[in-house]
């Protein structure tokens, strides 16, 4: 029902973003699209719904939905097609949710069935509470993962015939991810809904799709039955991609005891934080040593970001103390002197929102470089290029505006900016959620080197246990706003004690197992 014929999309400089891409999505087909960050996945997804971002243009080819060329049809037709057939989940829902609409209205807007009950079930399907109080909240009152799921629920409530999902599982913990995926699966099976599943999560792709397309630099480097591609990859890139995936089991076996910890840099004691009227963090304490890498684990909505924000001072905690190198920090960012502000850097979960839409990303990084290191404009420019290189961003991206970058590229800009500040405590909130395994691994290796060489302490929030096992030394598990588990990676994850931990571990699925079989 959707047919892409020789689609070629280029940016204003003529550099192609999609190269003569041809693809057919039949009724009920489930097609996975994986590939490097910046490969053109989102561009493809948008093309499917007949949209092209400003700064890009269609050079050649068509996208036919039920025979209608959505790239050339008038707005009215396109609208009808979208409403009738297509459901598109944008890459970072947080910014795509209208901030002035309560959850209830967000859901009813597109819904085919607008009854109270229906709304509640839609929320339940994605593992969100359906109660009235929750329905009365606004998007900004949700955690990243919750926003992600809200967007998904909103989308599915329209019962489209084809779902086009751009990285629907980013920022979801194992359990929720499990639930969401089986929901989707269920939907697909029951109603024969077609699926275009863009993801960096190969395991999810394996589970959800029959046909897999591997994109690299705007080109299809390999495609075929998902099992085939994942089982016996032919293209070099695909192999590299698979190799980069961190699998919990193997990593745990590989895991080596860390060197003796350095001095404590960051200490959080009795931290209690309230969001709205609800206590989100309840007397949380933890330590971070120099050069150490501490993973913060927990189900979506358990308070990880809140913790991160309270530590950086972006959010004023109800009670508790944060000390940096022995000195107690002011509760709010505004009260902290420049030096202290720079020493703790947060790479926020919503990287898009953290970039000034009106400033070229290069300038954004360069400014921090100059301020932090007191460099001349020239030196700063060089340093900026270097940093962007480190996170795998070509310098040609430097003078683009955030909206002219891919999701993953934006995320990496945010990382580069944090690095530029030269912090000794780095808090990474889901920093690899939008990155493919390969690029993600590269970024994490970069962080490791920072730790070992500069003794930077790392607090990383992630749902990818494989990554935790590969890059973390210690794990803290949050649940219901309390620390329920704390210890070296191998014994916390190897022999999980607390049931939350156990559940999370159980939910971690290696790519290999599931490939082929349809769970």
């Amino acid at each position: 029902m959707i047919e892409i014929r020789g689609l070629r999309i280029a940016d204003t400089t003529g550099r192609p973003v999609l190269r003569d891409l041809t693809l057919t999505v039949g009724d009920g087909d489930r097609i996975g699209v994986v590939g490097e960050s910046g490969a053109g996945k989102t561009t493809l997804a948008l093309a499917l719904v007949g949209a092209v971002r400003p700064g890009l243009r269609v050079v050649a080819g068509q996208v036919l939905v039920d025979g209608e060329d959505v790239l050339r049809a008038g707005p009215a037709e396109v609208r009808r097609v979208r409403r009738r057939a297509l459901g598109y989940l944008p890459q970072d829902p947080p910014s795509a949710l209208t901030p002035t609409l309560r959850i209830r209205r967000q859901l009813r807007e597109l819904a085919t069935d607008r009854t109270e009950a229906a709304v509640a079930t839609r929320l339940a399907e994605v593992g969100l509470p359906g109660d009235a109080a929750f329905q009365r909240r606004y998007p900004h009152q949700l955690s990243g993962g919750q926003q992600q799921r809200l967007a998904l629920a909103r989308l599915m409530s329209g019962d489209p015939r084809v779902l086009i999902l751009d990285e629907p599982t980013t920022g979801l913990d194992g359990l929720v991810r499990e639930q969401v995926l089986s929901q989707l699966r269920h939907l697909a099976d029951r109603r024969g809904v077609g699926l275009v599943f863009i993801t960096h999560d190969l395991a999810a792709a394996a589970r959800m799709t029959d046909h897999l397309v591997v994109l690299h630099d705007g080109e299809v480097v390999e495609q075929g039955p998902t099992a085939e591609v994942l089982g016996h990859p032919r293209a070099a890139y695909t192999r590299r991609l698979l190799a980069a995936v961190a699998d919990l089991r193997t990593e745990l076996d590989r895991w080596a005891a860390p060197p003796p910890p350095g001095p404590v840099v960051l200490e959080v004691t009795g931290l209690t934080a309230v969001r709205g009227r609800r206590v989100v963090l309840d007397d949380v304490s933890l330590r971070l040593h120099a050069g150490e890498s501490l993973a913060l684990l927990g189900t979506s909505g358990c308070g990880k970001t809140t913790l991160a924000q309270s530590v950086t001072g972006a959010l004023r905690p109800q009670a508790g103390r944060v000390t940096l190198g022995g000195r107690t920090l002011a509760a709010t960012l505004r009260r902290r002197p420049v030096a202290e502000r720079r020493r703790i850097q947060l790479v926020p979960q919503d990287s898009t929102g953290s970039l000034n839409p009106r400033r070229p990303v290069g300038a954004a990084i360069g400014r921090v470089v100059r301020r932090a290191r007191g460099l001349t404009a020239g030196e700063a420019a060089a340093e900026t290029r270097r940093l962007m290189g480190l996170v795998g961003l070509g310098e040609e991206l430097a003078d683009r505006l955030p909206r002219e970058l891919s999701g993953g590229q934006r995320q990496r800009v945010a990382i580069a900016r944090a690095l530029a500040a030269g912090a000794d405590v780095l808090i990474c909130d889901e920093v690899t959620s939008n990155l493919d395994a390969q690029v993600g691994a590269a970024v994490l290796r970069l962080l490791d080197s920072l730790r070992t060489e500069l003794g930077v302490a790392l607090l990383m929030v992630t749902h990818d246990l494989g990554v935790v096992a590969r890059h973390a030394e210690r794990v803290v598990v949050l649940s219901g706003g309390r620390v329920v588990d704390d210890g070296p990676v191998d014994d916390v994850l190897g022999t999980p004690r607390h049931e939350v931990t156990r559940a999370l571990v159980a939910a971690a699925t290696p790519v290999a197992d599931r490939s082929g079989s349809v769970g």
């Binding site: 948008l46 719904v49 949209a51 707005p75 396109v78 609208r79 009808r80 097609v81 979208r82 409403r83 009738r84 297509l86 459901g87 598109y88 944008p90 910014s95 795509a96 949710l97 209208t98 901030p99 002035t100 609409l101 209205r105 807007e109 597109l110 606004y138 900004h140 009152q141 989308l155 329209g158 709205g276 898009t352 839409p357 909206r403």
Partner: protein
Amino acid sequence: MTGLRFLVRRLGAAVATLFVVAVVLFAGSEVLPGDAASASLGPDATLEEVEQRRAELGVDRPWPGRFVEWIAGAIRLDLGVSSVSGQPVVDLVAAPLAATGLLVAVTAAVSVPLAMGLGLVSGLRRDGRLDRTLSAVAVVAVSIPQFVVAGLLVLVFADLLPVLPAISLPPLGGTALDRPEILVLPVTALTLFGAAWASRIVRAAVIDADATPHVEAARLAGLPERVVVWRHLLPAAVPPCAQTFAWLLSGLFGGTAVVEVVFNYPGLSQTLVAAVRNHDTAVLEGVGLLLAAIIVVAFVLADVVVMAVDPRLRVAGR
């Protein structure tokens, strides 16, 4: 809850503000040259008489005393008496206030939707032919001085092709409502400026709002344009618009002077101007305070609206 506290805080602030305004007004009318005494006496007055009248009006006493009395009175809604006609200011102002109120209400009813509509259209079709045209027209409309606009309107619609009354003359024992046609020209004159000006800001706000990701997302979801605009786009455009319309309304209350003179519309501004001419300080200060009150209220409302629309501000509680 935060909303209520906010409202209370704002209103408290408003009162404080009014006091300051009162002080400034008083000082201002002190600066205004001339005294009620010589103005209210006939041309044949002798020097003694002027002095005597001064004493009667109390303008010879030092200002602090008079200020305190005035404020004290104002709190009891007693704004003193006109030095010209001897009537209580409150009575004197009631009718014009009502008249202006009507004029403003009608003008607002016309120009706010108009400005919204035009602003939206040109904002959504930015840089299109329609947008360009509207912009040019708006600019012209704003650039022509009010008295010229009013004058031309009379010339064309009351004189050359007599279809409308030249001055706003309500029927005996009635109000403008009994003869709506007399409102047409004044309202047009005011709207031309108001709508044109406001539409420019609306346009800008709409352009900004149109660029936000959630609006794009709403379109990609295939929602009808109408829904996209009303539910997703407009809320983002509210803050500047709210301020604009608050300014428009309050501005209208005090700023209809020219129109009122040209169309002989017996409104507040005429009272104000006449008061200035006659050095009728009591009236001047009274009207001034009244206008100030209206304006402050308008802007408090604007703030409330902004806060009501954007939940993030509400939590921030500012």
